[in-house]
């Protein structure tokens, strides 16, 4: 993977840039010694690392504005960072960039149950947003797997989803307003606590823009009352394709589960060894969860079980208690950790129309055989957001390259069937060069034009999302 050659003129002015930032900000806000900045050299895409020019950790919107104004004046690129859990390299620095980490912006500013929103600083972690309201019977719906660690800022940047978005939508559907600092230091308010922001839908534009349009420092998020109840059912199948067909049939039947999670044999095996959740020994399993009143749950699960039975399941296990529900979810929730114990892996994020699941699962199996690399599938099947994990050996020469090539082939397959490259992880650096598989040059140019409007100097996270060749003239013009 290529990154732009760092700007030597900026690097030579490091001392001056650090001095200006340090003078304008409280003590312990700017760090620049290599041993201090090491933790910021990469995010969760650990295959790629680079030491930044400096790292700044502001504690207020005003400090963020100061940092951006100085970097704007100095012409220094800024890479915003939430908790650094990006799997796509969204927070990967370049040597001439300043990392702006929002982790210290972690306060709850206001909770309002009458209007059902919470306003938080953007460095607050996803799970702790729900944590702030759950005693009062509310929750924040988007629940990415990394929710214990990931920040709301990163959720907004990547428009994060999670297991429950089939019913509740993704971040963009749960975001009411933001305070955002523009690259020149201007502080803006977009939206608020009302449901529809005025004018063009800039909130929609910012959500998923991977930190390229502005730095969000506060967010107003929609919170929801906890449902009356929820109950999962675990269904085992004799093949991936049959499980995929069952998902499509469930959706078509008019039931709307809150989550449909899919795991295949390699994943089931690994999680059993790791967590011992007591999953059946089968090729693929689904965890289908429904919510609502008891009457609603019974009715929905009745329909789901009937559909599942028409696909000859090898196991069908309905939860009868909170303990059983927890056991059903245990394996799924520990899947990524379990896979990490046994292998290096690349986690993909392609999304496909749900009715194409059997075809794509078959296609992945073929590619797995062709490349000689094992694939474990664990993903949100209800919304078609696949997470194939390509297993490889980082110590084996050429294995990472091979895994990346295979990943690109899988993503091209997702696009071919009407899907997209990434559902919730973002493009980052990881899928940058595949954008041309999904978009025409005109499509990409329209998006670049958006960045021109928000960040004319192309200083915010400039080497991400788009193929480097397509942004080169803009990045160079900005230097």
């Amino acid at each position: 993977m290529d990154m732009p050659v760092p700007n030597a003129a900026i690097m030579s002015r490091k001392v001056e840039v650090v001095r200006r930032l340090s003078e304008a900000l409280p003590d312990n806000t700017v760090i620049h010694e290599p041993n201090e900045t090491r933790a910021y050299e990469c995010d969760a895409l650990t295959a790629y690392k680079c030491a930044p020019l400096a790292v700044v950790l502001p504690s207020s919107t005003e400090e963020v504005a100061t940092i951006l104004r100085i970097c704007h004046e100095e012409g220094v690129p800024v890479v915003p960072r939430g908790s650094g859990t990006s799997l796509a390299g969204g927070a990967l620095p370049t040597a001439d960039s300043v990392i702006l980490g929002v982790a210290r912006l972690n306060e709850v500013i206001e909770t309002n149950y009458d209007d059902r929103y919470i306003r938080v600083q953007s460095g607050r972690t996803n799970l702790s947003v729900t944590g702030a309201v759950e005693e009062d019977g509310f929750f924040y719906a988007p629940d990415p797997s990394s929710q214990l660690a990931c920040a709301i800022a990163g959720n907004i940047a990547m428009n994060s989803g999670g297991a429950h978005c089939l019913k509740y939508g993704v971040t963009t559907n749960n975001l009411l307003g933001v305070t955002m600092v523009m690259m020149d230091g201007t502080v803006t308010e977009i939206g608020g606590a009302h449901l529809d922001a005025a004018g063009y839908d800039l909130l929609g534009l910012i959500c998923g823009s991977e930190g390229q349009l502005g730095v969000v420092t506060e967010a107003t998020l929609r919170i929801l009352p906890k449902p009356e109840g929820a109950r999962p059912v675990l269904i085992g199948f004799s093949s991936n394709e049959v499980a995929g067909a069952c998902v499509s049939d469930i959706i078509k039947a008019g039931v709307l589960p809150v989550a449909i999670e899919f795991m295949d044999r390699p994943c089931i095996r690994a999680t059993e060894a790791f967590a011992g959740a007591g999953y059946p020994d089968c090729e693929a399993l689904l965890i289908v969860e429904v919510e609502g009143s008891d009457a609603e749950i019974d009715e929905q699960l009745g329909k789901i079980k009937k559909i599942a039975e028409s696909h000859d399941p090898v196991e069908l296990r309905e939860s009868g208690s909170p303990e059983e529900s927890a056991r059903i979810w245990l394996g799924r929730k520990s899947a990524f950790g379990a896979m990490g114990q046994i292998n290096d892996y690349i986690c993909l994020d392609g999304t496909i129309p749900v009715n194409e699941l059997p075809k794509v699962l078959g296609g992945i199996r073929d590619l797995s055989q062709r490349y000689g690399l094992e694939v474990a599938n664990v993903f949100h099947a209800g919304d078609g957001n696949m997470h194939p994990l390509i297993l490889f050996d980082a110590n084996k020469e050429g294995d990472l390259d091979k895994a990346e090539e295979m990943g690109a082939d899988i993503l091209r397959l997702c696009v071919e069937v009407g899907g997209c490259l990434t559902g919730e992880h973002g493009v980052g650096v990881e899928k940058r060069d595949l954008m041309t598989a999904q978009f025409t040059p005109d499509d990409i140019e329209a998006q670049l034009g958006i960045k021109d409007v928000f960040d004319p100097a192309w200083l915010l996270n400039p080497a991400k999302v788009f193929p480097l060749a397509s942004t080169e003239t803009r990045r160079i013009a900005a230097e």
Binding site: Y117, H194, G204, V255, P353, N385, G418, D452
Partner: protein, 384 residues
């Protein structure tokens, strides 16, 4: 001059490219509430559902497809558009056939918006022609998609000023088997908003909450779902709201549908001469709006967060609401009032600058519905 009516995307692109003056972009023409000068470019020739996959909860249609055709097609599979788009014909006195593209252009969202999201939340893909005639695609037909910037949401509610929609894709939802309206009587706007907040904060999945002040105030709450579930929730919700008086319950499907259609379309304002405003605030500010507009005829939807206000012609409503956060759009008014007060709420300078920048990017010649959402060209920048 004759109306331009392209019958496919290529013709649409050519028509925009060839335009030598302002274009008035329209679909079915039922939602045009701001007069725009220019030659009319209609999308009504771009029709047809291009893909419907019930098993993936997805429908894709050309922009000029009648909304009624989309609804009929979905309902044959017991599915529906989640956002319950309003029909503007009653309040605007327009005629013609509402199109799906028109619903997107104004981000038309009805009572169910509070639980299922707005039009922009259900819209997952667009194809449009920008002001230079270029075809641009964004999003697609999957509901989770962070591949590049989200121009899909940007196009929703942009009133044809950034591009002319040629095709739109939606996430749809299953229809429901049963519904019920629970009604509380005689509450003030403040009490009603409290009652609606209490209902919305319950786990009973209220799918609509509206208050009609007036001589015999009524506060309506809608439940939708499986029959047994609606019955159970009706009972629970009635008990939950006991402090607000007796609840009357309507379960006749026709009458439930009629009431919510009237609320959705703000029908009580049809055929009247007063100015009509649409005000978006946080729900608990709904009563403040009602108090500030004492004497106006009001309809409070979205649990109090969407207030329709009929006021005496020429009233500077925004002036009367100063201090309440949110925005007010002038839906229906005479020419002079519209010229004086403006259709859309004035934006903060940084946001107005971004909006202008976006228009300049997508429509560099300033020919798409010029002036509708603000000036096309930048005034001299103020230098700080």
């Amino acid at each position: 001059m004759a109306q331009i009516e392209p019958s496919n995307e290529t013709e649409l692109g050519e028509a925009v490219q060839a335009a030598d003056g302002p274009l008035r972009i329209t679909g079915g023409g039922t939602r045009s509430f701001v007069p725009v000068d220019g030659r009319t470019l209609s999308t009504r020739g771009l029709t047809g559902i291009t893909l419907y996959e019930p098993g993936a909860l997805t429908i894709v249609a050309r922009a000029g497809t009648p909304l009624s055709e989309i609804k009929d097609t979905l309902s044959a599979e017991n599915q529906r558009l989640p956002f319950e788009p309003m029909d503007h014909r009653a309040i605007l006195g327009t005629e013609g056939e509402p199109t799906i593209g028109g619903a997107v252009a104004v981000n038309a969202s009805g009572p169910r918006r509070i639980v299922a999201g707005a039009c922009r939340d259900c819209l997952i893909g667009v194809r449009f022609v920008d002001g230079t005639g270029k075809l641009i695609r964004n999003g697609g037909r999957v509901m989770k998609n962070v591949t590049g910037y989200d121009l899909v949401k940007l196009m929703a509610g942009s009133h044809g000023t950034l591009g002319v929609l040629s095709e739109v894709s939606f996430k749809v939802l299953p229809g429901t088997a049963a519904s019920a309206t629970l009604t509380l009587h005689g509450l003030s706007p403040r009490q009603a908003t409290e009652a609606m907040a209490r209902a919305m904060g319950s786990p009973f999945e209220i799918s609509a909450a509206a208050h009609l002040p007036g001589d015999s105030p009524a506060t309506h709450l809608r439940l939708e779902g499986f029959e047994a579930s609606v019955a159970y929730r009706t009972e629970r919700l009635t008990a939950h709201l006991a402090a607000y008086g007796d609840v009357s319950v309507e379960t006749d499907p026709g009458r439930v549908a009629d009431l919510w259609r009237d609320i959705r379309d703000a029908r009580m304002f049809a055929g009247r001469s007063e100015d009509l405003w649409r005000i978006s605030v946080k729900p608990s500010d709904g009563p403040r709006v009602a108090e500030a507009l004492d004497g106006a005829s009001l309809l409070m939807d979205w649990a109090g967060g969407l207030v329709w206000a009929g006021v005496e012609a020429g009233t500077d409503l925004r002036g009367r609401l100063s201090g309440i956060k949110g925005h007010a759009t002038l839906l229906r008014a005479g020419h002079d009032t519209r010229a004086r007060l403006g259709t859309f709420h004035p934006e903060a300078p940084p946001l107005a600058a971004i909006a202008r920048g976006l228009r300049e990017r997508f429509d560099p010649r300033g020919i798409l519905n010029p002036g509708l959402m603000g000036p096309a060209t930048a005034p001299e920048p103020e230098k700080a």
